[in-house]
């Protein structure tokens, strides 16, 4: 199974920065699956999962953005009360730390997905799979 990569972009906290990122991706015909912004005063980090990571990374890099790729997990959440608890608890019990997470829902696939950045990705994959949690593959994210 090929892992999922998130694109992170360093951006100054200024009007128009987000628009520039979005335009670059639009021009490259890259579709955004999920996105979150972490801000820290003067600057922020835009994190996103897109349909074509290589193409998105290259387009942003060539346009002069400071970009990096990060390994993340995309796990399917059951759309019922306690859905998130099951996942978080499994990781916690197994001593895997979540650095950050963000979720999205896809209308077409009728699924809720959680993007997770953890300190031990192999262990997280193993314990979540053992607990019966479904992890999305790169192809699935591409084809949502």
């Amino acid at each position: 199974m090929e892992g999922i990569k998130q694109i992170s972009i360093f951006a100054e906290n200024k009007p128009g920065r987000m628009a520039r990122v979005a335009r670059t991706l639009a021009d490259a015909s890259v579709n955004i699956r999920a996105l979150t912004i972490a801000e820290a005063g003067d600057f922020g980090v835009i994190r996103m999962v897109v349909d074509d990571t290589e193409k998105g990374y290259k387009a942003l890099h060539d346009d002069g953005f400071t970009v990096s790729e990060t390994d993340v997990l995309a796990v399917e959440i059951k759309d019922i009360p306690g859905g998130l608890y099951e996942i978080a608890n499994t990781l916690g019990m197994n001593n895997v730390n979540v650095d950050y997470a963000y979720a999205f829902v896809t209308a077409k696939a009728e699924r809720a997905m959680l993007i997770l950045r953890v300190d031990d990705i192999e262990k997280a994959t193993e314990v979540l799979s053992d607990a019966g949690v479904r992890l999305a593959t790169r192809e699935e994210i591409q084809n949502i």
Binding site: F10, A38, A40, D42, F43, G64, T66
Partner: protein
């Protein structure tokens, strides 16, 4: 390694003989300016000094100082000592801090300038067979034409690209095999940045082995960064337009700039008291020209802060050296009562590999307090996705700045390319308090 001198007789002259030569030249200079310039005659009178009072080299301290202000007040040619039809060339400084200043040259003055650079370029191992790309501006600025004449004199091939059009500079550098480049250090960093974007490695894809970098203060740490990232040797060059233009460089040992004592008499003073400081202490460089006729200088306060070194260099040249220019009396910023030189900030920043080559210092006033903000660029190779890493980088930069400067600086991380690049002198400080 290459014990080659352009003018071995002068460059290796025993120090006592050099002093004797300086003394003779100083005496005739003082007589000359007194007889040929109303400005100097008046100055001498005000200071109560006659040409006959200047007998020994140490008598130079009896002479009054001159400064940029005198140049402005006598604009355009009131300090010249010859009829204007003897002037073979003018150069004009940009006047970023006021009225422009005009300097003029006789043919002999141009020859002196050229001789000075011929010695300097030879001392860093350049000569016939070298291709010297002159990327200083040509025209009213002295950098381009000065280096051009000096490089031709030693038999090197000159590639007179001037400043700007950076991609073409890099193509020509490759196609014509430039072995040395002369430009500002900030422009060289920019050339390297553009080369990388073009997929050109200065180390592997060009023959460049020497940079003759100056016209703005830069730090030892920037030198290291330039040398490590491009594989060239970076040499410091010094000279001001009033003195002719760029005149002096380090020798191949890269340990201070040799000031040809037969051409200029240098002193380092405390800018506040006008008294000489001890050798090894920092102060303002004051120059007296000894072989310059259209526009001679008597104890001209350059505004450049440096340290004098009278110890003899291992290269065999007997002439005094100055340390790299540490700053200018007029670019020193006073933040909350503490003197800060941009070069101090630079030397801190260039030690931190996670940040880029460009920086900017912004001083502003918030209420009664001065606030200094240092903008630095995040580099892609070290960009971490984690906010915590970026925050700790920013804190680390702040901590190291505080260690050196003794004041707290706010550190702002910005995107690469966000700080304006310069093809000439970089503007490192923006002081909003004056507005």
């Amino acid at each position: 390694m290459f014990a080659e001198y352009w003018n071995p007789y002068i460059e290796r002259m025993p120090i006592e003989d050099l002093h004797k030569l300086q003394e003779e030249r100083l005496r005739s200079l003082v007589r000359y300016v007194h007889d040929h310039s109303r400005f100097y005659r008046q100055r001498f009178q005000e200071a109560g000094v006659e040409p006959d009072d200047i007998k020994k080299l140490s008598d130079v301290t009896k002479l009054p100082f001159t400064s940029k202000r005198d140049l402005r007040n006598t604009y355009p040619t009131g300090m010249f000592c010859i009829p204007e039809n003897w002037v073979v060339r003018y150069h004009v400084s940009s006047g970023t801090t006021g009225k422009p200043t005009v300097v003029g040259y006789t043919q002999g003055d141009v020859d002196m300038w050229t001789e000075s650079l011929a010695r300097a370029l030879t001392s860093i191992g350049l000569g016939r067979g070298d291709v010297i790309q002159v990327s200083y501006g040509y025209g009213l600025f002295t950098g381009g034409l000065g280096l051009h004449y000096g490089a031709e004199r030693i038999g090197a091939t000159v590639l007179p690209t001037g400043a700007g059009n950076t991609e073409r500079q890099i193509e020509l550098m490759q196609d014509l095999g430039s072995t040395a480049i002369a430009c500002t250090p900030s422009y060289f960093l920019y050339i390297n940045e553009v080369a990388q974007k073009m997929g050109v490695s200065i180390r592997n894809d060009t023959k460049l082995r020497a940079g003759i970098l100056g016209a703005e203060p830069w730090s030892e740490e920037t030198r290291k960064r330039i040398e490590d990232s491009t594989g060239i040797k970076a040499y410091d060059i010094f000279g001001t337009s009033e003195m002719s233009g760029p005149l002096f460089t380090e020798c191949h040992l890269q340990n201070g700039i040799h000031i040809w004592a037969d051409l200029f008499l240098i002193e380092v003073i405390d800018p506040k008291t006008g008294m000489r400081v001890e050798d090894g202490e920092r102060g303002e460089l004051v120059v007296t020209s000894l072989d310059k006729w259209a526009f001679p200088l008597i104890r001209y306060k350059t505004g450049d802060i440096t340290i004098l070194n009278n110890e003899q260099c291992e290269c065999g040249r007997t002439h005094p050296r100055i340390m790299r220019i540490l700053g200018r009396t007029d670019d020193m910023i006073i933040v909350r009562g503490i003197n800060v030189f941009p070069s101090q900030v630079e030397s801190v920043l260039m030690r931190i590999p996670e940040i880029g080559d460009n920086y900017q210092i912004i001083v502003d006033r918030k209420g009664p307090l001065d606030v200094m903000t240092v903008k630095v660029e995040v580099t892609e190779s070290t960009f971490s996705d984690k906010i915590a890493d970026l925050m700790s980088l920013s804190r680390e930069v702040g901590r190291q700045l505080k260690n050196v400067l003794n004041i707290t600086a706010e550190v702002e991380l910005v995107e690469p390319g966000a700080i304006p690049r310069s093809e000439g002198k970089a503007q490192r400080v923006i002081d909003m308090r004056r507005v």
